[in-house]
Every structure is written in structure tokens, then in C-alpha cells.
């Protein structure tokens, strides 16, 4: 036990003291922030030169008004298209928009001609389309004798208010959305943590084998102790990194918002890409309080410890498998690829089931795979915010514990033989044989 702890501390300290680790841990949240700000910046800027477009509108459909937008400037003119074409070369404009008279006032489609040797960019195209479409809409409203208010009253917002029957729980219309979001975050995190730190365990095992220090080590302690120490040490590194990020991320966000004066509405715009229409912002502002209340209403006393449990058990199961694979690989790190495939498959599969469980947490697939070990450590945490029946949680936890113990034992059997085998990488058949080797 004492020796396991020595290995754990070595694995932990050499990793945590490593410059790369310190840099990635500190810079990743900062990098993410810079990335989002940069994406927001890129998304909010279009082309930087102003295009001047001459508009001929013989039927005065647009009433000499077209809102300039997105670096487009419209100039109305009474000159004919032919004359304008003559001046194209040095007339100080980039194109001619020819608005053809609207024949049928209720026509579903309408075509305008654009004359220029330079093509319109996509966003310019959209801008002109929507500008003209708005104008024609106003024109049609007038023709039909409708006003804007009447028209708005046609649309109706429908909310589904859920009520429980047997369960004693208050739920609201956005419970599902909040649950999905929490499930999604947990699911993604689980997947990446298991993958990143699991493969670190594998690399560490391979390093010791290639270095040949493993023979010195196991003349001092049991291979199983060495493996467990390694898995524990790397796991602690993972917890440390996540812990630091959980503190740093909000801190950096807070500092950035107060220093740069980015308000929450702006951040919202950045996160949702280029969609911050007024409506969305209005509703999101109104709903923030509701979402917060919803998050507070979650059964965190159940969700948090269980999520931690699934992380630890899932990590142990997968890390042990990665350790076994690392021990079976020869000198060449590329050989590991084919052997890690059987580990990657359930992991990827669990990840995708997790995504589908986000939308349908009570589907047969989601329910079953949240109780099957190797899948459950990713799928169940996704389902937890949806309040699954307690018996499913119990089955899931018990089966995962038993399975993880069995898997760690199995991996230990392979590991103890594998680390002393040099030369070619082993086949799966050999791995199976190693399990039954005597001490």
C-alpha cells in the first residue's frame, strides 16, 4: 500500500511539475477565451470596403429608400440601365441594381437584375435580398390594407407546462432544456477526460517498458502495485487540472468582462454565433433567472457525488485497459493504435449514446446502456439531471463497481506479463493467454 502511494506521488509530482502541464493548465482557459472573442470578432466583421450600388427603380417600388447595410451603399438614380452601363468603367460605383416593375402585387417571387463585373459576396447577396424583401412586404401590407399589429397577432407562442402526477417535483417548461445542457456538458467532459488521461496512463506504461526501468521497479514492488499507483497518480493529475479549470474559467471570464467591458449580452452573441437577433436577446435575458432557478432546483446532492463516482469508476476501468494495452506494445508507439481500437470503440459508442440520451433520456437504448458498464460511466451522468428511477441507478452503480474491479484485475494479469515481454507487440490471443499465466 505504501509502495502504491510512492508510485502515485511520483507520477503525480513529475507530471504536475512539468512545464507543459503548468502551461496548458493555465493557458487553456485563457486560450479558450481568446478563441471565443476572436471567433466573435471574425463573425461580426464582413468585408471592409464599401460597395456603392446604383439602383434604378422605374416603377418606384422601393420609394427611393433602401437601407444601407453591411458595407453596401445604395444610390437611387433615374438614369437608364443602358446609360449607367456606359458609365460603369469610371462612374464611381460598383454595380447596377435594376428593379423591374412588380407586375402581380401578390407575386410569391420577384427578380431583380444586378449588373457588375464583380460578383456579390454571399452576405451582400443576402443583405440586398432581405432589404428588398422587407420593402415589398411593406408594399404588400399597404396593398392588402393590413397593419403590422394585426399581422403580429396571427402568430402565437405556445408553451407546454409540465405537471407531475405521482412524483412530487416541481418542473417547469425549461427543465428539459436545462437538464439536456447539464447532461451534455457532463457527457462531453467524461469522454474527453477518460480519453486524455487514459492514454496518458498507456504512454507512461510504455515509457517504463521501453526505458527498461520496469525490471528494476518490479524487483521492488508487485506489478499490480505499480499499475495501480500509475492509474491513481494520473487520475489525481486529471482531478487537479479540472479543479484548476473550474476555478480559473469563471475567474478569467469575470476579469475579462469587467476589464474589457464585454457585457453578458455580447457574450451571448459570441456563444450563439451570429444569431443575436433582438428577440433572442430579449427572451434570453428574461429567461436567465428562470434557468438559474432551474439549476438550483436540481438534486445536486445526488447528481454531484454520483457524477464523481461515475468519473472515478469509468476512469479506473478505462485506464486499467489502457495500461494493459501499453504493457503489450513493443518498442514502437504506432503499434498501440490497433490495440487501443477495442477500447476506443465502447468509449466512442458510449459518447454517441450519451448524445442521443440528451434528447431521449428514457429511450430503451439510453436506459439499457446506462446500466451496462463501460457505457454507463458516460451515459448515466447524462441521464442524471432527468431524474431516472432509483433502481436503474442502483443497478448501474453496482454493475459498474463489480465490472471495474474485474477489469482492473484482468488488466493487472495482462500487465504483469506484458511489461516483461520484449520484441513484437502481442496479439489479442496472446493477451487472453497471459491472463491465465501462473505467477
Amino acid at each position: 500500500m505504501n509502495k502504491i502511494w510512492l508510485v502515485t506521488m511520483r507520477e503525480y509530482l513529475t507530471r504536475v511539475k512539468n512545464k507543459t502541464f503548468i502551461l496548458t493548465t493555465l493557458l487553456t482557459p485563457l486560450g479558450l477565451l481568446v478563441f471565443f472573442v476572436a471567433v466573435g470578432f471574425v463573425m461580426s466583421t464582413g468585408s471592409d470596403t464599401v460597395k456603392v450600388i446604383n439602383v434604378t427603380d422605374a416603377s418606384n417600388l422601393l420609394e427611393k429608400k433602401l437601407d444601407s447595410r453591411d458595407n453596401l451603399s445604395f444610390v437611387f438614380t433615374d438614369e437608364s440601365v443602358a446609360t449607367l452601363k456606359g458609365k460603369y468603367k469610371d462612374g464611381g460605383f460598383d454595380g447596377i441594381l435594376e428593379v423591374i416593375p412588380l407586375k402581380d402585387s401578390l407575386a410569391k417571387s420577384f427578380t431583380v437584375n444586378y449588373h457588375s463585373d464583380d460578383q456579390l459576396a454571399m452576405d451582400e447577396n443576402f443583405a440586398i435580398q432581405s432589404a428588398i424583401s422587407d420593402k415589398i412586404r411593406d408594399f404588400k401590407l399597404k396593398k392588402l390594407n393590413l397593419d403590422e399589429a394585426t399581422l403580429k397577432s396571427i402568430d402565437t407562442d405556445v408553451t407546454i407546462q409540465p405537471f407531475t402526477i405521482l412524483k412530487d417535483k416541481k418542473i417547469s417548461s425549461i427543465t428539459t432544456i436545462v437538464s439536456s445542457a447539464i447532461g451534455a456538458i457532463v457527457g462531453y467532459a467524461m469522454f474527453f477526460i477518460i480519453l486524455v488521461y487514459g492514454s496518458q496512463v498507456m504512454r507512461s506504461v510504455m515509457e517504463e517498458k521501453i526505458n527498461r526501468i520496469v525490471e528494476v521497479l518490479i524487483s521492488s514492488l508487485k506489478p499490480f502495485e505499480l499499475m495501480m499507483g500509475k492509474v491513481l497518480g494520473v487520475g489525481l493529475v486529471g482531478l487537479t487540472q479540472i479543479g484548476i479549470w473550474m476555478i480559473l474559467m469563471p475567474l478569467i471570464l469575470f476579469i475579462a468582462t469587467s476589464l474589457l467591458g464585454i457585457d453578458a449580452a455580447n457574450m451571448d452573441g459570441i456563444n450563439t454565433g451570429n444569431l443575436p437577433t433582438e428577440e433572442l436577446m430579449m427572451s434570453s435575458n428574461g429567461k436567465i433567472a428562470q434557468v438559474l432557478a432551474e439549476i438550483q432546483g436540481m438534486n445536486w446532492y445526488l447528481i454531484l457525488p454520483l457524477t464523481l463516482f461515475y468519473f472515478i469508476a469509468g476512469y479506473f476501468a478505462y485506464a486499467a485497459l489502457f495500461a494493459a494495452v501499453g504493457s503489450a506494445v513493443g518498442e514502437d508507439i504506432n503499434e498501440a493504435q490497433s490495440l487501443t481500437l477495442p477500447i476506443m470503440m465502447p468509449l466512442m459508442f458510449a459518447f454517441y449514446i450519451g448524445i442521443s440520451a440528451m434528447n431521449a433520456p428514457d429511450s430503451t437504448l439510453a436506459v439499457w446502456s446506462s446500466m451496462i458498464p463501460l457505457f454507463s460511466s458516460i451515459v448515466m451522468p447524462v441521464r442524471l439531471p432527468f431524474d431516472p428511477p432509483w433502481w436503474q441507478i442502483v443497478i448501474s452503480v453496482v454493475s459498474l463497481v463489480l465490472f471495474t474491479i474485474a477489469l482492473v484485475w484482468l488488466a493487472g494479469r495482462i500487465y504483469r506479463v506484458g511489461i516483461l515481454m520484449y520484441g513484437k507487440k502481442a496479439s489479442f490471443k496472446e493477451l487472453a493467454k497471459w491472463v491465465f499465466y501462473k505467477e
Binding site: 511520483r10 513529475t14 526501468i213
Partner: protein, 301 residues
Amino acid sequence: MNVLSLRNVVKAYHSHIAVNDVSFDVKAGTIFGLLGPNGAGKTSLIRIITTITGADSGEVLLNGEPLNHLHPNEIGYMPEERGLYKKMKVGEQLLYLAQLKGLTEKEAKIKLKTWMVKFDIMNWWDKKVGDLSKGMSQKIQFIATVIHDPKLLILDEPFSGLDPINANLIKDEIYQLKEKGTSILFSTHRMEQVEEICEDIVLINQGKILLYGNVDTIKNDFKEHLFSIKYEGDLPSVTDHLGFSVLEKRPNEVTIKVTEGVSSNQILKTLIDTNISILGFNEILPSLNEIFIKKVEQSNE
């Protein structure tokens, strides 16, 4: 008193038998040679003694007790394939390895300082092993093997890759450890080293013991009654009636084989009576190398 005793140890790996009914004793405070060609089963034997693997049958006793989980702390093992963490600093690494052998951090620090001062390498403490030369890291490996004062030291080809100066340094350390009462199991296929430093040897091939015993006794057992004589004058051309035959003749020196039943004193007496003057008279004992090759070739036939 035997520090290590093997009794009928057998170890098989699925298809072949690596160690086949091996028994021998290592006396406390001696240097013992474990010899054999490549693939003879030396490493398998060592792995059993170091508790890395277990024997299929038979018994291994350390200080009279069957091997248990505390014994690794009393054994120091330097494998043939040396290995250290390349990215770890010398000091940290040796402290870690010493603690794995059961020393407390404090004990380990004191011991480590003594060794590093002794080898005059205190300034390597914060160097990474990967930045050291091969000879330098061999010294580190040696310290890692002996830092916990093992009762039994197992060295697998300890001099391979060492230049003569460093080899002598390690050799001196081995002798000093022996003086302090450490028993040393020395595995090699380099016979001249064995002859020089080992008292007892065991020779194994294909998992079986071919020879086992005291080095001098073994050499005596394999002697072929050869002598070399240095002289001045004319040696008689026919010598059979004098009790020996000439095998090789060089100017003023001959190698002779003494007829069975004739003692070396008798030969000397006869030669003194002839009119040559004798300058030297030595028995030629077979080298361990010759015995080794002979025995291994016999057993492979």
C-alpha cells in the same frame, strides 16, 4: 551459512522449460558466479530470486526463509538491460528508487549523499539522467542497486558497456561490499571476470546445471596434467621413457603432458639429471573459458 538456497527449482513457459530442476547454494559473504550462454535460463532464474516471477515448483530460501513479500527490500538487482527515467533528475530518481526499497525519505537522503560523495558526483544531483553519458548513468544505476544495503546483490553483466576505468571502480566497490558482508550473485558469460572475482560458480545451459562448485576445485578437476618448462640447453628428442610427451615446442620452452601416474617431482628430478638448466616449471590449468566451452558444447550435442 547460506544467504540463498535453491532447491529443485523449475520454471516452464508454455512451450519450453527455462529452468529445469536447479539447486545450488550461495554462501553468505561470497561472490558467486551464475554462468551460462545466452538463453541458458540465467535471467529466468534471477527473476525468480528477485520475486519478479514465481517458480512452478521447488523452493527458494533467502537467509533460510522461503521468499516472501518483504524480501525484495533485502535484494539489490541490476538487470542487464539498464533502465532509468531519462527525464527525471538524478537525485529525485535515486530517492524514489530507494524509497521503493523500503527506506524512509530521510534515510535515503543520507545514504544517497554518502554514495554520491564517494563517486564524486554530487554536482549531478539536479541533472537529468538523459543528459548523462552512458558510463555516468551506469554509476547511477549501480547506486540505485546498492543504496538500501541489500544482503544479496544480483548483478547481471555489471561491466558490459563500461570503460576499463569505470569497470575497475565498480569492481572495487563490489569487493568493498563483499568485505562488509554483502553476498553477490554475479551473472555473466565473460569468463575472465569470473575467474578473477568469483569463489563459487554454477554453470547452466538449457535450464540445467552443468557444473557447480568452487572455481579452483573445478579447474583442478578439469586439469589435463599439462606443464610448461622453460630451459636452456638441448632437450632429448625422445622423452616418453622420461614420463612425459612434448605437445608443443618453442625456442627454450615446451609444453608437456605428463604420463598418468607420474608425479611432477619425478619429472623435475629426471630433467635435472639431464644436462639442461631449468628456468621455469609451471602447471597449466585450463581456463574457465575452455571448461565453459567444452561443457556447453558437450551438453548441446
